[in-house]
Symmetry: C2
Subunit: 338 residues, 2 copies
């Protein structure tokens, strides 16, 4: 076993990369929610000046990356790798966002876990000695996701009570080999967990077992109890998924209620904003991380966060074929000290 | 700049991972082509015993992974990471192939460059000190790809002369930190290149500029001339794309005609098998690598290969919106000596 490895799924980075810049871009609805003051750019135009929802989503990613580069104080040409992906078929919002950037690019698909996946790989590229500067980016857009996964908005379809609202949002994080932090210190890579949930309108329930599996594996392999973190945050299980994670941990005698939250619940005001079970989409946890969470770490609100992105690895085709929903969760420890 | 880095896009691995096992699984048509003796399993049933094309593609991946693990002589539980992806919306053939394996999983989307992308990241995970055993897997299926990207087969659509044939194929490679080789020695990560080609039935032309860019960057940054390789192989540009790459290099005064080929041309007999410009799909280069190329290296036919996976990062939606086709190419040096 290599010296970095703490168990089957967890590694401790030997020279934790430092987050040098981060930026978030969101749509109007997200900009009216409880975290509105933490975002770098809020657009009142859902099309972001473009002609289609997909092009709008590409624009979101471009703006988030540009903002993060600006804060890091480097040009795109300093980046040695960018790890990025999104929810759209063939990840086109990413490809079209990055095609003029000239940055060595690895495309990812992790559904709503993509921000945690891209953070993990961007950190490993630096800690492994392959790069000094890397970036992690992802996005989602309510309108591009609705017409792809469910139905065009013009149909006016009703949403079930367990449905989540795909965030119109993007987040980008730039990291480097040497800096004042916050640092990526540990990475727990998820395994696919499928407990047989087949309701594509209840993805919180489908992903909760994967979140529980990765988080409990993280606590076991690192030897860190949940209380070692100021905040444990999943993204995005929503109201029901969060309740399930709390329930699963309570069976193990662990009470996470005081320091656990979910990005899908943090992004919107569930009582006021009509998003049913909460937010979802790659951009939800990405924008909450790149805005509220990393800002809060810099301001001294938290010194140690466990960021756990959760993804539902389904497609409309797999649902039509009667398949259940495989879930995955990747967890990344972020700390103000190495 | 880190000690492993040779330039903006290329790294030299400090302790090159050794390929411990590799296996390929193909359909009937691929099993009737010139490389038929190099595959581990050829199925005469396009459904591979399943009820849908998507489930058949998952089965292909499962069989390729099982074959590679068997040859490496390890159980799946030894793998610390698997890097995998495919062409289907939300990469479902991968998610469903891997959901029962219990392997820490990072999902990728690189279109037909996925085998080179997964090889790169699986090698970096070992060389970076994160793992001792990793796997790279991908697949494609003619029937699942046709109905998703073009039209259901039942429509009997005509194919244009520049069209390529999506291979029904999967390849898996297992690598480890210590072994007798062949070794992954260098990785050149691609940037997105888009020269404005808009014809989704001429993907060879769309990807050729990306292949040229990555290959010429590789030669420049490593200082290795094309003649340093016994074989340079792209996958999958097909007949037209290969001609374009030769033409682009000839403008630089470089003649690649003696040691350059393309997996899309190697997999089928173009005169006899009615595949127009040649093969394509993630599984094409994956199966040619995991079968013919790595077998040939073990048998002493070649000692140094540059494997360059090429992907067209389009979707039917981006084409319908009038977009051009962004291309990418990742190159991996494979050598019988460190």
């Amino acid at each position: 076993m290599t010296s970095k490895r703490m168990g089957r799924q967890t590694v401790r980075l030997s020279n934790p990369p430092s987050i040098a810049g981060h930026a978030s871009v969101v749509g109007k609805k997200e900009g009216e929610g409880p975290l509105k003051n933490s975002f770098d750019f809020i657009s009142n135009d859902s099309l972001f000046g473009e002609k289609t929802w997909e092009k709008a989503e590409s624009k979101l990613q471009k703006q988030a990356l540009a903002g993060a580069l600006d804060k890091a104080g480097i040009p795109a040409s300093n980046l040695e790798y960018i790890f990025a992906g999104d929810l759209l078929n063939q990840c086109i919002s990413t490809s079209f966002a990055l095609r003029e950037q000239g940055i060595p690019f690895y495309g990812l698909y992790g559904a709503c876990s993509t921000m945690a996946e891209s953070l993990s790989l961007a950190a490993m590229a630096i800690d492994g000695g392959f790069a000094d500067w890397t970036a992690a980016v992802t996005s989602s857009h309510f309108c591009s996701a609705e017409r792809q996964y469910r139905a065009p908005l013009e149909y006016g379809g009703q949403r079930t009570p367990t449905a989540q609202w795909t965030a119109t949002a993007s987040g980008a994080v730039i990291m480097t080999s040497d800096g004042p932090g916050p640092y990526i210190t540990h990475i727990t890579t998820g395994r696919i967990v499928d407990q047989g949930i087949k309701d594509a309108n209840n993805m919180g329930a489908a992903m909760a077992p994967a979140a529980y599996h990765t988080l409990s594996t993280h606590f076991t392999e690192t030897g860190l109890p949940p209380s070692a973190y100021d905040l444990i945050v999943t993204g995005d299980l929503g109201f029901l998924g969060k309740e399930l994670v709390l329930e699963l941990f309570s069976r193990d005698g662990l009470d996470l209620s005081s320091n656990y939250n979910d990005c899908g619940l943090m992004l919107y005001d569930l009582k006021r904003q009509d998003v049913h079970c909460g937010g979802s989409g790659c951009g939800c946890s990405a924008a909450v991380l790149s805005g509220y969470l990393l800002n809060g770490m810099r301001e001294g609100r938290w010194s140690k966060i466990l960021f756990a992105g959760t993804g539902a690895l389904l497609s409309p085709t797999s649902t039509q074929q009667g398949e259940s929903i495989p879930g995955i969760c990747h967890a990344v420890s972020i700390s103000t000290t190495k």
